[in-house]
Symmetry: C2
Subunit: 409 residues, 2 copies
């Protein structure tokens, strides 16, 4: 099983609050394994590797690496880039030059596609290299996982924000009587659904939740809002950015398309706010948290952060044990007490498949989630991450990539 050589780690896709926990898990586990091989980082994902933008992580201070455990964003930078056949040739040549025998790729569905293709390309080129995917997505849509690292923190932040802005709404509903919160998650409603964790009393926010898994009907939405408003005097709605009509078409798009062919969404919250004001005639407000949902480390879930680290650590352990072509998964070993362990799934099974919120966890009226979802999600948001503060703000680390740069030629 022993394979001598170096390791490379890279991140891709949108960050989560805890994505760097996984990177930290990879780096620390590699460095502490006592192996001779170096560990490199591809700066800005596979695109950085292709550009030769690679650093030897031994040049970083260990305390800065440790600081990745409480630092949001992609600590070694990320990209959104679809690798082509021409790229693969160049990629393999770079990996050979640096004697990369262990390749760790941290990201979501698209990134696992990249990892899978890199693994295949290496095999086709006769280059022995172990490839392990490390899962990440606030969208919680990676298949074969009980849940994805990154989801718990985004869920905790959105639930806290809905609780706080819900209390705000009910305490001063004389002006804007409806609050619409737009949640990330284009095709999977997990994060939108997580807002339900906020509610302790029947009249507390959120009152209505609209998910991409079931068709959105304008008429049902308006009558739902009107009913809650008549009952309480205010109404709090959480809506997924990716709600779709009965034909599966997004209700609101900007027309643009990204590198992976995904349609760019835009302005669901604002559109619904305008609709409520125009059609019901009551004043509404829209909160669009945007990237704060995937970056709010100041209120991340400790459970999530620890599991993200565990996923990175396990990736190295799997690779050193001879595994390859797999993504680490999280499996729920026990519900009460909650306990989570790692397992694995073949990269080609996971690539480009989205795991949606089960329709059984959506109520009959298609405007809320069931208690079963709450039981599933609640343990994932437990605990808070201790963060060093300076001048009243989280003092996040920043690695110095002017150090340890490698030369390919």
């Amino acid at each position: 099983m022993s394979l001598q050589g170096n390791a490379l780690v890279a991140q891709s896709g949108g960050p989560s609050a805890v994505i760097n926990n996984s990177i930290c898990g990879v780096i620390e586990t590699w460095l502490d394994s006592g192996r001779q091989g170096k560990i490199y980082a591809g700066i800005s994902g596979i695109k950085g590797v292709l550009n030769g933008d690679i650093v030897d992580l031994a040049a970083q201070r260990r305390e800065d690496v440790a600081g990745l455990r409480y630092t949001p964003g992609a600590g070694i930078f990320s990209c959104r880039y679809k690798v082509s056949a021409v790229d693969h040739e160049k990629l393999i040549s770079i990996l050979k030059k640096l004697n990369i025998r262990y390749f760790f790729y941290n990201g979501g569905n698209d990134s696992m596609d990249t990892a899978y293709k890199t693994w295949r390309a290496a095999a086709d080129a006769g280059w022995e290299m172990r490839v392990i995917g490390v899962p990440k997505t606030i969208d919680n849509d990676l298949p074969f996982c009980d849940h994805s690292p990154g989801f718990g923190s985004a869920a905790k932040y959105i639930a806290a924000t809905v609780r706080e802005t819900g209390i705000d709404l009910e305490s001063v509903s004389t002006k804007n009587k409806v609050t619409i919160l737009e949640a990330m998650g284009r095709d999977a409603g997990w994060l939108t659904a997580a807002s339900a964790l906020s509610r302790r009393f029947p009249d507390e926010a959120p009152h209505l939740i609209y998910l991409p898994e079931v068709p959105f009907y304008k008429e049902s939405f308006l009558s739902d809002v009107e009913r809650v408003y008549k009952q309480l005097g205010y109404c709090y709605v959480v809506v997924s950015e990716g709600i779709s009509d009965e034909n599966g078409e997004y209700c609101f798009t900007s027309g643009a398309v990204d590198a992976f062919g995904h349609v760019q969404l835009s302005g669901v919250g604002i559109a619904l706010k305008d609709m409520v004001e125009r059609e019901i005639g009551i004043r509404a407000r829209c909160n669009t948290l945007g990237t704060a949902q995937r970056a709010a480390m100041h209120f991340a879930s400790k459970t999530d952060a620890d599991e993200a680290y565990m996923a990175g650590k396990t990736a190295v352990e799997y690779a050193l044990a001879g595994k390859s072509g797999v993504m680490v998964t999280l499996q729920r070993a026990s519900d009460d007490p909650y306990r989570c362990v790692c397992s694995e799934v073949e990269l080609d099974k996971v690539a480009n498949i989205e795991q949606k919120l089960p329709v059984e966890w959506i109520n009959e009226q298609h405007n809320y989630v069931t208690d079963e979802f709450i039981r599933y999600a609640r343990p994932l948001i437990e605990g808070e991450v201790a963060i060093p503060m300076k001048h009243g703000l989280p003092n996040y680390v920043r690695l110095d990539f002017s150090k340890g740069r490698v030369s390919i030629d």
Copy 2:
């Protein structure tokens, strides 16, 4: 100086994360003063008082009252309502019936106008009643104050969010290269400016800040963004919801007007995002935190929370000492170490006046703030409030207003 009778406290205007600290300060100081008089709450501000929606706060559990120190929203509910001459007659009759001799009103500029008019109406009616205003506004625009309770917490939350989403932007700028964050504060740029507290390194977010105190020029904005983008590959902009043109007209309004005649703003962030995409041709994103800015108790400033409590406590002390017709103010006694004390100002001086960000604290290019502003604002965001957690979320209190209801007739 001794005046026997009961007290009434009420809140009005938009809440801050720490507004309930002031209410708690009023209630606890009154209850602990050993006076015979009751302390009532007007539920939903002056409008609730007029509707006879009044409760005896002795009916609440003391631990719930204490819990107001970590609970956002308006704990005794709020309103936006301009009191008329007819209302005043009814108001005085209700205050007489309940033998209200101490009247505490917690809010911003408009609320101090209400407090002043209530004071005058009582005097005109020959009803001896001491009226004290307790300041509150995340906008930080109350005059005669070094700063307003509520500002520090909103400033801390927005600065943390800009730091986190800024790190997110710089770590994955391949897709959306410009982030626009829209900040509250219609005519005063304090909160927008506070985002600058986030920046530790010259290339860190925010890169550009646009304030309502100076005219906004579309051409300057676009060339600023393009310059930063060319230099760094990304650009983070924070903009006030109330930016105005050279004639002092809001750049973006919805056309609607509120009870106090204020024009309703809408969609500055989205408008600028669209402008960047259309005119510069680079993809942008907009984060609109909305009411989260004034409700995010989970990351409130301890300094701010303690000062809000002190303002409420001082209001009762002032009233018991015979003062009336004044608002409590916060004055900076010392910069290093930072120390803040209470003082007072006549209600008629403060009502309806907005204290704007000094133009000297805005840079020459009108696209950032000076270090002097940073020195001013930094102490206000120090410290965090300990909040009891349950199931991974802040377990905020909710007073029970079915208890202690009074009958007016």
